[in-house]
């Protein structure tokens, strides 16, 4: 179960809509107690060098920066978000093959430039499947 606080959620949706028709990506900073709570959405650059309408790539350096940012605020990086322009918020084969089992992966579906729906996913260590995680915002 992952809960995204209103400010963070507003920032994520705004980021995903602003980068449309390209995919956006970023880190979710928050804390894990009984449930995961996202307090801050940190937009990061989509570093994929090809067509960014259907792909994204996070630079490890940016993730390292996000981790420092989180630690300095007494928070942790607990997940990654990205958008799927004009298609559903599923966890694609490409998402799975480039995932990491340590984080929640929130996917935002953006249709015609506007937010449509979102899902959160938990990939396994072997990158063979991802389970859906309950998401509230």
């Amino acid at each position: 179960m992952i809960r995204i606080e209103p400010d963070a959620w507003r920032d994520m949706v705004a980021h995903a809509q602003a980068t449309y028709p390209h995919e956006c990506c970023g880190a979710m900073l928050g804390s894990i107690t009984d449930e995961k709570t996202v307090r801050i959405a940190l937009p990061l650059e989509n570093a994929y060098t090809g067509e960014r309408g259907s792909r994204y790539e996070l630079r490890p350096e940016d993730l390292l920066r996000a981790d420092r940012e989180a630690r300095s605020r007494g928070l942790d990086v607990i997940g990654i978000y990205h958008s799927h322009p004009d298609c559903d918020a599923y966890f694609s084969e490409t998402d799975l093959k480039n995932s990491c089992p340590w984080y929640s992966f929130v996917v935002l579906s953006i249709r015609n430039g506007a937010f449509h729906h979102a899902n959160s996913w938990l990939p396994d260590a072997e990158q063979t499947k991802a389970e859906r995680e309950e998401l509230t915002y």
């Binding site: 994204y56 490890p60 990086v77």
Partner: protein
Amino acid sequence: MAKVLIPTPLRQYAGKQDSVELSGSTVGEVLNALTTQHPDLRRQLYNDQGKLRSFVNVYLNDEDIRYLEKDATPVKDGDTVSIVPSIAGGSVAAPPEPAVAELSKDEVLRYSRHLIMPEVGAEGQLKLKAAKVLLVGTGGLGAPLGLYLAAAGVGRIGLVDFDVVDFTNLQRQVIHGTSDVGRKKLDSAADRMHEINPFVRIDKHEVALSSENALGILKDYDIVVDGTDNFPTRYLVNDACVLLGKPNVYGSIFRFEGQATVFAYEGGPCYRCLYPEPPPPGLVPSCAEGGVLGILPGTIGLIQATETVKLILGIGAPLVGRLLLYDALAMRFRELKLRKNPECPVCGDHPTVTKLIDYEQFCGILKPVTTEGDIDPTEVKAKIDRGDSFVLIDVREPHEYQICSIPTAQLIPLGQLPQRLDELDRDIEIVAHCKSGMRSARAVDILTKAGFHARNMKGGILAWSDRVDPTVPKY
């Protein structure tokens, strides 16, 4: 002491700590200390083969250790080691195909010398544009392949490589330039290819091709071009191509000679029909050990590129069932007839290999070469300085010895060692070295069996240059 920062999700395996202070002189030692102290972390970070998982990057302060000295990167007091995952993704499993219905005005201009040949024409150029070709390796063979296939307008080109450009590459890997040294080969190659032809889509696969990932990567392509330099990957590419029914455009090079053919194409033979068994490890030297004429991979890579384009266009007589042999010194091409072997374990009538196997094991490559009794170059230096009684032998070839050598080392090339044992004293310890430690490991084996007390200098003269005397040139 170095500080290792533990990412949140892994803290449960590290006693809930967000960082751990550990001692160790290299990143490898620090990580080893970490996973010894917290064994549950090991499974999170390493796969069953003991390699870091594909999504795990390790940073020392702000630098990825892959671009430093990897595991051997030295660690100072107060350094910070971070574990950072690599993450990417996208909405589609295979990114959208380029529209192939027609050529734009710019493309007509660009490809005009193709278009005016009836064998290619607009129809052929559209086939090239719709084609998906995977290049395994962006080294000697991959360089001309990448340049010319991009120029020819192959619509989608996948590149598989995980290496970075090195000065020793530039003598033949013409897709990379001097200013690219230190960059990822994938980035360097892709930039150059896009510069030649921005209409081409390039997929970068920054992985070592393995039994776990090969089918997933190869399945999206029509043709696979093998530009690798080692037997395990060659068998892996071959078997994956046979299992997926994709042609494997093969090339190989050694010193002044090369080979090329097309395997696994419509009933033709495969690599295993030609070579059912790999050679014993160490018998066939790699380019790094045996050398290669810099131009040779150009010639062979372009034969592979030509065959690739012919297969896409469906013109001419493909190099199927024929092994083309090229001898640069004699400047002669010969052809051997190849037949499909009905008993072939992978493409024969009753295949026994029906999924990918462990190719390192198949090729007899033991994961870590025996390290017991190995001696570090710094320890050898200390022995020399102390005046310890021992003999240092260099088992490389005389021309390598001329490039660089270690003072006090006695040259006995590996091939002559069995005949020259009587020059050595059984009562004095022998330390053997070569370029990187492979040949000297075999020398130690020979010496030990003959009753000598011998040890292998780890990492050879390359490690000596790194850790003892940086004035010794690397080659």
